[in-house]
Symmetry: C2
Subunit: 161 residues, 2 copies
């Protein structure tokens, strides 16, 4: 059975030990962390973290409960349980050989070419998992030379507040 991916959103104190502790908690329980991002918020004392993980739902619930008890963790939510917006930004370097075909795909998906060289082109993809995966599927045959992903971030829709 394919395990469902969960997008966990956390507000934490901006202390560096927090990252290691959170990461340790997931990995100690056998959760594969597919992506993680942490950045400052408008309040310099507070950071925000997004983590995508796959694993058993019951164990995940336990982890979230444990996280909520930690002193440096302000709030934890499994966004997957709510109606939320999910986004990722990806930079992809492709061989320039098939530039014309690449441009067609880029146009269809409303993506952007952000660097053009003699040997390679760099494309900026933005969207939810579905759009990103569809675009990458079409781009892969042209030879992905480099891929830089931010990891997924998400925000709840207002109706769900």
């Amino acid at each position: 059975m394919k395990k469902k991916e969960h997008l966990i959103s956390m507000t934490v104190e901006n202390k560096f030990g927090v990252l290691a502790r959170v990461a340790g908690l997931f990995s100690a329980r056998g959760f594969n962390i597919d992506s993680l991002s942490v950045a400052e918020t408008e309040d310099t004392g507070v950071s925000h973290m997004n983590i995508t993980v796959k694993g058993d739902e019951k164990i995940l619930e336990q982890i979230i409960k444990q996280l909520n008890k930690l002193i440096d963790i302000i709030k934890v939510q499994d966004l997957t349980s709510y109606d939320c917006l999910e986004r990722e930004l990806i930079l992809v370097r492709l061989s320039a050989v098939n530039r014309a075909n690449i441009m067609k795909i880029v146009e269809i998906f409303g993506s952007q070419v952000v660097d053009v060289g003699q040997k390679s082109v760099v494309i900026e993809l933005i969207g939810d998992s579905h759009k990103i995966e569809m675009t990458l599927k079409l781009l892969r045959p042209f030879g992905i030379k480099e891929i830089i992903r931010t990891g997924k971030v998400g925000i709840r829709k207002e109706g769900e507040k």
Copy 2:
């Protein structure tokens, strides 16, 4: 003196201990990590990490040398030393009270409104530091209720390969 921000790009083995070790190395030497993102690449055994840090340049050089020696680290680059493309994606929730004015700013900067509610609007901002900071500066007076940042990611331009 304001310390210059560095964007460090790393290719690493997809083992979770790596994240904690890398993070520990920076914090042990007094580096403030402003953002960190880690995500899979096309090769499931390999992850890519982006870190933005501020701190002494000489110590940073030492850290990079040390990182390059670690067995699970495939490649480390300080992108700030090269001509590179830098991007960040941000989701910002603002009070809906000033919706008309917010829309004008969004239009000028080519941003997107991704959720509209009775109480709040969510905007998606994408760009380099300069564009992001300019847009946020104009949006702040309208009341930022929530901000979710991916952290900066970067890629070298071809001429610099």
